[in-house]
Symmetry: C3
Subunit: 434 residues, 3 copies
Amino acid sequence: MQEFNRSAEIIAMEKLFDRLWPINRSITGDGVRHTHDILGELVPLTRTEVPSGSHIFDWIVPPEWELNEAYIIDPNGHRILDVQENNLHLISYSSPFRGTLSKSELEDHLHSLPDLPDAIPYLTSYYNQTWGFCLSQKERVSLPEGNYKIVVDTKLKTNGSMTISEAVLPGETEDEVLISTYTCHPSMANNELSGPLVAAFLYQRLAAMPSRRLTYRFAFLVETIGAIAYLHQKGEHLKQRLKAGLVATCVGLDVPFTYKRSLRGNTLIDRIMGQVLKEENVDHSIIDFFPWGSDERQYCSPGFDLPVGSLMRGSYLDFPEYHTSLDNRDLISFAAISESVDVYLATCMALERNIIYRNLVANGEPQLGKYNLYPKVGSLRQVETERQELLWFLSLADGRRDLLEIASTSGVSIERLEAAARKCLETQIVEIVH
Amino acid sequence: MQEFNRSAEIIAMEKLFDRLWPINRSITGDGVRHTHDILGELVPLTRTEVPSGSHIFDWIVPPEWELNEAYIIDPNGHRILDVQENNLHLISYSSPFRGTLSKSELEDHLHSLPDLPDAIPYLTSYYNQTWGFCLSQKERVSLPEGNYKIVVDTKLKTNGSMTISEAVLPGETEDEVLISTYTCHPSMANNELSGPLVAAFLYQRLAAMPSRRLTYRFAFLVETIGAIAYLHQKGEHLKQRLKAGLVATCVGLDVPFTYKRSLRGNTLIDRIMGQVLKEENVDHSIIDFFPWGSDERQYCSPGFDLPVGSLMRGSYLDFPEYHTSLDNRDLISFAAISESVDVYLATCMALERNIIYRNLVANGEPQLGKYNLYPKVGSLRQVETERQELLWFLSLADGRRDLLEIASTSGVSIERLEAAARKCLETQIVEIVH
Amino acid sequence: MQEFNRSAEIIAMEKLFDRLWPINRSITGDGVRHTHDILGELVPLTRTEVPSGSHIFDWIVPPEWELNEAYIIDPNGHRILDVQENNLHLISYSSPFRGTLSKSELEDHLHSLPDLPDAIPYLTSYYNQTWGFCLSQKERVSLPEGNYKIVVDTKLKTNGSMTISEAVLPGETEDEVLISTYTCHPSMANNELSGPLVAAFLYQRLAAMPSRRLTYRFAFLVETIGAIAYLHQKGEHLKQRLKAGLVATCVGLDVPFTYKRSLRGNTLIDRIMGQVLKEENVDHSIIDFFPWGSDERQYCSPGFDLPVGSLMRGSYLDFPEYHTSLDNRDLISFAAISESVDVYLATCMALERNIIYRNLVANGEPQLGKYNLYPKVGSLRQVETERQELLWFLSLADGRRDLLEIASTSGVSIERLEAAARKCLETQIVEIVH
């Protein structure tokens, strides 16, 4: 196993965050590409450009959006709502506009949140051509009467493309684990950058291991349409190979974990998360699938029905700063993000260990003394515990149950059962079935 | 849907009740025929006369019972216990008798209820030849000493028959729903007429609908032997076609609903009643099958094992007036009977809606905006609720789950899911599987 | 059924106990043979001698251990720790030794329990050659300084054998029930003799019955290696024939019953014990299988996976006198042992009654009056209860459910259901399927 330096990871996370934060991302465009350039320093990403106009299942990839500048000159000649200052000021995918409007005409194009007067809302209009500016309710109420000069210098390029990337960390087998996240929001901390950060640093930790049994596929997508494009490209492959997957989103808050089950509710990822969250002894809740939220709804759509859930801290449903300028660096905790990587890694480790063994001395119990398998050192209690773990493993390793089922039946952790399995493999009284 | 006038239904129910009440019904005879004549005005009944002596499975149809007159002349010359006054006074199926008995000889043929001194008990002796009179305990204790002249002018006609009737309300498919009730008790309100009333007015409400997907079969039987005769005639047909059925009995009291499950406990009628009673938001309890009670025990006998339960208000087990003269017009509520029809109808509607759909845009979610499927009007909350209902439907409509399972998984009502299904059918993104 | 005399059984148990108690048993040797001679007076045992050195699955039968004498002469010339006085004084399977040791040299070979200062521990060393003496902590602290003369006159005979015995009580069918117990501990009361006592007296009670449907196999084994040898010999037979089995151990205390489930947890013995312990109305708890304890772990090893659980009073896990000289006649209750036989017998009776019947009048209910099956005598309540039992039986006897499942669904006891079944068999309206 890698030597792990917690504080180094947190410092590296903060630096990465600070480089990614100011980039003006949308579902297409150079913001995404620039983001993937930076993430590519940690994760060897393979990029796919899906051309605008491509038919992907029920969807058509939209034109690529290019933002040059966008601001307003107020009646006093001041430049306000400049995207240079805060890239939430412009509705994402705003169509180009130049002109002068009275304040009341402008009002139809302004968006604020009366209930959160300090927050700039984050709004998009991918599939309806319009333009608009977002601002805090405080700023809005102070706008003077008079004429406003509007500059929205954007382009919708029909010869553009949508960028999605993946990295595959190969293992000894073709069984795959998917970690899916997205890079399609501009400056958002919990509901954007926490996901790619967890994915990138999980990649680093897994890559540092000398070997892996499973193959790990990391996808850095665009929510919804990017996941659909990814399934268009890799869906059949995933149907064959994918054993378990997680959508990483909203993993940046220092609040309890939330695991949202896959559609079927009893797939491998559902079973393993129940065990891992218990074994890791972290505060958590487990909730059933519902068909809105993040890209789990694409992976679990009836045509694919993949074993993919979502591991979050809280969720997009329950933090009030969601989709506003308040979802920023102050809201999140890098220690929490690092701890999220811990639980993602523990999940991968549990999947690595989740092997099916067959006890070759199945008729009556093996004579443990003969194989030198009786634990020798430690307190009487430790010795007895270790002996019982060994007996549980041998008793249930029948060539059908996986280690997860043995853990769940016996109450012994997957890690301890694997230690027992390893000793038995050495003495050749068990074999690996799968 | 029909225009529905609650008070008109209640008035019509009362009129029907008052015509049916005085008729002296038994398991055979003109009382049943007269009852079916009257019910036939609302429901186009097809009558079957099963000849006395017919072998129907393990049973033989008894001779037809004809009652001409029955009364007693007391020592003072007064005519008492006359069936003209109350048709419970004579034990049903009493054999003919004329003679004079002392009071103590008569006592062996008198039946009363010391614990309910005002009630005349309702007794029968279908399969043992005897005669007897029923009276209230109050009247009994006032009988003077002396000789009583007995007149029981009845006949047991071996060339008679037993009358059962049915009506079929055809639907677009051959899948059938059975509503079974009985008309074999004399003047009894809750444990007799409430059942035929619910069946007849349910028929009316269903017949008023422009069309129905399912075929409805209404059976007006004799309890036990009539249901066995009906199964002898239609059992194989029902095994092929019947999707769900209910025995309507004791549905006249203003007390919570009781659903008694079918034998297997998890048939379609059991699943649908659980959902409907929850959705209708009526006080209710659901109880397991037990092999006594009404005709559900025939439908659920091991040779048929049909998906038939019984929907009651309270039940025959728990009202003290059961099988006495106190089960009369004062006991029941016509508003309650009309409400019972509501829940029966809601059950039929849920069965009508319980279709299996297949989402044709199964790979990833459909682009709802493209189909104009995103709800447009209503409060933000309504719009979001409607969107979620649409997503639940599309997410679970996989060509295997029926709408009932989707309702139970999602918490969305069958009616709301059907509304979503209808919109999706219009845009051809789903198809009907069955 | 046999006439049963409780106090005679208890007296016979006490006599048997007093003859078996002083015998110095181990896993091999004449102690076991002598024990089986005595048990053979009640149970016609067939003895198997498994030669030392035999390979039985993963194990090798050890040399036979012969103990001639063992004691110590203390510095004052007193003979102490003599096995003649208490056969726990010598570690079972001690290798021969003669010599003089200082007190401190001797200390390495002494074993006591500081927390139970009055108890002599019971220790064994079957597979590691060593010798040692066991004594109470009280005696140990009073040993004087000086030289001790040690005499351990034992032999490990490689041409010896291990003794196991069984008795088969034949029934009308080849379906078998196994009662397995062990006779390999020296003077131990609850965790040794209570088991063979229950087995022997259960045999007597079953043998006194005029006939039995099932065949009963009683095994008097050596824990672990004896059970493995028995499975080596009879395992394939048991896989074919065994319907249910119990390991009888720790059944001598007047404490609640504990049923430890078989590995699969839902085998016939698990289902029947749940029903019997409820019907017998005894305090009890039911616990899941765990792969240590007594010989259930051999029967449930993955290669056999037999339907064998263990019925105990308390268990080996929870009585502090376990494996010490305090597990003696004072600890146990012969009335409790006799009551244990009651529950074992009730289990056998439930298995005897657990037949699959088929109702031949499956279409509609049978006309019970015709068969004279309606109960006639008893209070109204008794008559109604008996009628309902009859209806439950007929309603569920579909040729697939066993009587146990009918009992569990209906809440009627297996015994009452069998009474109903017997009446129906007489009138030929049901048949036996298996």
